[in-house]
Amino acid sequence: MKTLIIFLFIFLILVSCSTGKVKIKIAGSTTVLPIVQAAAEEYMLKHPDINISIRGGGSSIGILSAINKIIDIGNASRKVSSSELDITKENSQDLIETEIALDAISIIIHPDNTVDELNLDQLQDIYSGKIKNWKELGGPDFKIVVVSRDTPSGSFAVFNEIVLIKERVTSEALMLASNNAVATNISYTPGAIGYVGIGYVNDKLKLLKINGIYPSKRSVKKNKYVLTRKLYMYTSETSKGLAQDFIDFILSERGQQIVEEQGYIRIK
C-alpha cells in the first residue's frame, strides 16, 4: 500500500514538473523524416530553448494528426486525400499545406545486375508479375525479386498511381515497411528490384533510367523524370507561430541546402 502511494506521488510530481520549454511535435511520412531530422538539429542549435520531437508513422498519421491538432506539423509524401478531408470535415477547415521539397521515386537494383534502363510498361509488367525473369529484359538469368513498400505508404500510393495504374502488385512481392528496409534488402539480393526516395540511394545500389532518364536535380526540376512527387508539411491555423517559423527555416536558403544534403531536390 505504501509503495502504491509513493509511486502515485512520484507520478504526480512527474506530471506536474513539466518545465516551460517550448516544443514542436512533428510526425508523419518516413520519406520526409531525414530532411526534418537534419533541419531540426540545426534549428535547435540556433534556438536552444526549443525542443523538436520527430516521429515517423507514415503520411496518413502525419496528415490526420495535424488535422486533429495532436501535433504541430504533419509530414506527408502525398497530398491530403478527399476521404481524409471528409472524415474530419469540421477540423480540416484551417489545414495549411506547404510544399517543402521534391522527391524522385528511384528504381533501384542490385549493382551486379546488367540492366540499365526500363520503361514504365516494363516496370508495370514486373510489378504485376507478368515479367518474372531478368532474361526477358536483356539481363542475367535471374528470377526477379519484386520489392515494394507496404500498400498504405505514401511512396506506394504514388508508385501505384503512375506505374501500376489499374494493375495490382503481385502477391509474390516483398512488401517492406520503409525506405531503408527496401534499400538494405536490395543491396544484398542479386535479383531484386525496388523503389525508394532518392535520398536513400547509395553506392551499394544501382539506379535505373526510367523512360531513358535518370532521376537527377535537373530532370526532376524540369519535370522530365516521370516518377516525381512533392513532399508536404501540414499545419493548422492554430498551431502556426513556432511551427511556421520552423517551416520557414526549411524553406530558407540554408533549409533548402539541407534538403539537398539529404539527397532530395530543393523546391525553391
Partner: protein, 284 residues
Amino acid sequence: MNIRKIKAFIGVNVLRLFIAITFIFLLVFLYVIFAKGGKMISWEFLTQSPRRFMTEGGIYPAIVGTFWLTILSIGFALPLGVLTAIFLTSYAKPAWLVRIVRVAINTLAGVPSIIYGLFGLTVFVQLFKFDVSILSGTLTLGVLAMPMIINASEEAIKSVPRDFREASLALGATERQTILRVILPTALPNILTGTIISIGRVAGETAPILFTAATFYTRLRPTSVFDEVMVLPDHIYALMTEGSHAAKQMPIAYGTAVVLLALVLFVSGVAIIIRYKIRKKRKW
C-alpha cells in the same frame, strides 16, 4: 555392446547435440551483435545525443527513455501485481472470482505484444487523450508486465513456509499483520528478483511502444510524462528502417543493440545470481 546400449548411447548424444545446436546458434548470434556493435561503445556513445542526421553522436536520449518507461511501468505494475498475488495466496475467496482472475492472468500473459500496442493506442493514446507519450507507453507496458510480476510474487509468497504464517497467527497477529510483517518481508527478495527479470523483458519490448511512446528523434531528456521519448529497441528498428544513411547508421543500430542486450542480460543475470544465493542461504 548390445543394441540397447547403442540406442542409449545415440539417444543421449542426440540430446547433447540438440543443446549444443542451441548454444552454438546463440553464440554466433551474440558474437555477430557484439562484433559489429562492440566497437561503437564509448563514453560519448552513451552520453550524447545523435548528431549529423543520426550518423554520429550517441544514444543518450534513448537510454533515458528506456529507463523511464521501464521504471515507471514496473512502478505501476509492481504494487498491483503483489496485491493480486496476496489475494490469490492469502484470501482466495470466493472460488469463482479466483478462477476468473486466474483465467485473466493467463490470458494477459499470452496476448501478443502487438495487441498490447493496439490496446494502448485505442485506450491510452486516443480515448484518454494521453497522445503518444511516456504515460501511454508506461501504462501499456505496465499491463504487459503484470502477469509476470503476479506469477513471480505468487511463487515467492507460496515458498514462504506455512509454519511462518501459522506461528504469526498463533501469536495473535491479524491476517493483515501476518501478510505485511511476516510473509511479505520473507518473500520480498524473491518478489524483487522476479520483478527485475521482468524489467529485462519490458525494456526489450518494441511492438507495444511503437504506437504509444516511441519517437524517432528528440534531443532533450523528457520533462514530463506527456513527452514522447526515444527508446532503445525502437531506435534500433527506426535506424534499420527509417534512416537514410545506411552505411553509417547500421553500426549505430548494432551499437544500440549491444547496449540493449548488455542491459537486459546484465539486469536479469544479476537477478538470477541473487536468487540463487538466496536459495542457497535459505534454512527452511
